[in-house]
Symmetry: C2
Subunit: 449 residues, 2 copies
């Protein structure tokens, strides 16, 4: 650790996102420093009011009420601009870039409205600007378009980019309540701002669409050349009618280029999306981006579009890119076992033995079709303390055991139990008289979300 270089970070703004970045930088510092090969030091934080109480522990000596103290500090290499807005944030960003610093920003309005000026300032001073957190929160969509899909031209990019709109439309769909009512509840729950217009009138999504258009086509499209429509006029009867016709209504952002006509269209608007399309299934505050590339075909990227944690994840990934830039390294380092995030902190990562893994299961049994069989089967399961969730019985048209007149396929699902318990149950079942052939076992997937 001693011979690792130190990278000094300055942070502008300690609101929801700033606090999230500090929280997760501290919490995952060991892994992060091991992955990056440097020490990360937050050396100055600009806030509006030093005396404000905050949910995250901060050394008060780091605080200043003058953002320029941060961007003009020669020891700071990376500046995170998390103030928002296009006045002070713009001045500070331009000054930081002029000073040759790497700027990490979540500020979509600044980029969409002053992108040319900001990028030019970065080029002029050989500074850099990273903005993964500006579009689609925790989804690494900027990096995916700019680097992961660099081989492609992009005829179409479509996305659900505003979590508030998606939350409101999802609840309108689920509960059949009108826009105004859901909006009020969303405000009370913190899913919509007191002034909702940036979100529900499409401005926020338009900022993000502008950034995606720039990434894909190298052009900043002025907002007055975009189609910008919000969701205020959507009624429950629209949602019902769309549903009856096989659609969901979503607030969609589109960046569509037509190579033949040499045109580019950028717009955000409520749209009907087929239920069968993955985008039609992306609900609540989730965001999604569907990128069509001329080489790769379509890729879809889904994740939380906003919130302290998802945004912090994106900001920290930009800090990582910035760190590698300061170190002149061309790629993320390759984790190896010596320098490993888990083994270095936890010493010995064990390979889990299957017996310990808990799961719920699907079990298929070929059984004699006669009364009492189900009770026999469930009794055997109960003996292993396995409780049954559902049972489906089908006629077995081709029983493997030819001696049996009437056979049935019994399929059942269990609640969570250990692999060893279910395997003991399977062994008992195999020996049990009404069971005609080897029981067949499948796991049921559980996801953390």
């Amino acid at each position: 650790m001693a011979n690792k270089p130190t990278v000094n970070l300055g942070i502008l703004g300690l609101g929801v996102v700033g606090q999230g970045v500090l929280k997760h930088l501290n919490r995952n510092r060991k892994i992060l420093e091991s992955r990056l090969g440097v020490r990360l030091k937050v050396s100055k934080i600009a806030v509006r009011n030093k005396r404000l109480k905050r949910n995250v522990k901060v050394n008060p000596k780091l605080l200043t009420e003058d953002g320029f103290e941060v961007v003009n500090d020669p020891s700071i290499q990376v500046v995170c601009e998390l103030i928002g807005g296009t006045t002070l944030a713009k001045q500070l960003t331009l000054q930081a870039l002029k000073n040759g610093k790497i700027v990490v920003t979540a500020n979509k309005a600044l980029l969409c409205e002053h992108g040319n000026q900001v990028i030019r300032a970065a080029k002029r001073s050989e500074g850099h600007i990273f903005f993964e957190a500006s579009v689609a929160g925790g989804i690494p969509i900027i990096k995916s378009i700019r680097e992961g899909l660099v081989a492609n031209r992009f005829p179409g990019i479509h996305g659900i980019l505003n979590g508030t709109c998606n939350y409101i439309l999802t609840r309108m769909q689920a509960e059949g309540k009108p826009f105004g009512e859901i909006l009020s509840e969303a405000k009370a729950l913190g899913y919509a701002e007191a002034d909702e217009s940036l979100d529900v009138d499409g401005i926020d999504a338009a900022h993000k669409a502008g950034i995606l258009a720039y990434l894909a086509h190298g052009k900043w499209i002025p907002m007055n050349k975009m189609l910008i429509e919000g969701i205020r006029e959507i009624t429950t009867s629209d949602i019902l009618a769309a549903d009856a016709m096989g659609y969901r209504i979503k607030h969609l952002a589109s960046v569509v280029s037509d190579a033949k006509k040499n045109t580019l269209f950028v717009g955000v608007y409520p749209a009907l999306i087929p239920k069968s399309h993955i985008l039609g299934r992306v609900d609540d505050v989730y965001n999604a981006v569907c990128v069509s590339g001329d080489v790769v075909g379509s890729t879809i990227h889904i994740g939380r579009g906003a919130g302290q944690d998802a945004t912090a994840s994106a900001v920290i990934s930009d800090i990582a890119d910035a760190v590698f830039t300061t170190q002149g390294a061309g790629l993320m380092n390759l984790i190896d076992e010596k320098n490993d995030p888990l083994t270095s902190t936890l010493e010995e990562l064990q390979i889990a033995s299957m017996e310990e893994v808990k799961s719920s299961f699907y079990l298929r049994l070929s059984v004699i079709d006669q009364p009492g069989v189900l009770s026999k089967v469930t009794a055997l399961m109960a003996k292993e303390k396995i409780s049954i969730a559902r049972v489906v019985q089908q006629l077995d048209s081709k029983p493997s055991n030819k001696k049996v007149k009437a056979a049935a396929v019994l399929t059942l699902t269990t609640h969570q139990c250990s692999e060893s318990a279910i395997e003991r149950a399977v062994r008992s079942l195999k020996r049990s008289s009404p069971v005609l052939s080897k029981p067949f076992l499948l796991r049921i997937a559980h996801f953390n979300d």
Copy 2:
């Protein structure tokens, strides 16, 4: 162009993937060189048989039948290993790394089975190895986990990683035909190899799961410590029973770590996935990876998992990373208008005017509920040459026009037409006597896939 540095590429293997890489490097060369700021030159290609006919145009002078000629060529900076297998491919990869070259590979077997040795060789010589194409084809999942989600620990990664399994299971679901029958048809159609076992017995997915486990946890898990199950034993009755209980059966790869117990589980196996989960909706040859991060929450990444083009997209993105490494640049360059992929080749990219954009539409009309209204409405649409796809009529419980006794909400969808045509139709409808208030228009999304 003249003062751009040149990066020399060597290619090992000119099979399906190698030809795809050449094809797309040539086709998108202008954009790619503009994005990367270098000239890309394929300077040597090793093949098994120089005289074989190929679908892609190659200068025969570039061909050699000796792979070592490529990896030992001091002018070559980046070597793409697209041979496959773990014998010659391994020798060539190790030699290239020893010579300080950057290796780009799609070889999952080599990485999973000899990852420690290969990564160590890269570190020792300060070479690099990139392997985006080794997992999930065109989805930039390696970069997303390693860079975009670098802020996270990864308690769970779940994925559909084998396109052949997913194709077979999707068709079994859709058509109710047994495994063997679909497998034969898949072979005939080229969706399964003549020897299907690598795919349907889970070996291919296990190789990929091993790579994801390494990325997330820095450990190469030996295959004999993984759970490896294939899909041969799945019957149509399993698929029916699972469907009845709300599930789809998919071949799933899981990398699950338990921070409390300090254990890691890596397995591939057929699993029941709730239909309501996005992974349950990923069909045909598509792959998907669901990454749970402790900071970001869940992100899902979907795209084509195999095939010449998707794999080429991933290989070329690695070539781009390699190029930046050779240039000592720490990030993808920021496209600006001067150095712009579209404007530099196409001179003037126009912003599309809305009137030209074609779309299909959803139209909501509040109308008097009396005979003949629908015919009047459709006649007005026909006048603008707009054809109607579907109509849904609902009773309007709160007509905005209080003078009317019985009102209805008429919603209809159109086939494709121009924005200007639909707007003319809306203006006529607004003036038409049975229409009670301003018609409300929504677009229907069309995706390229």
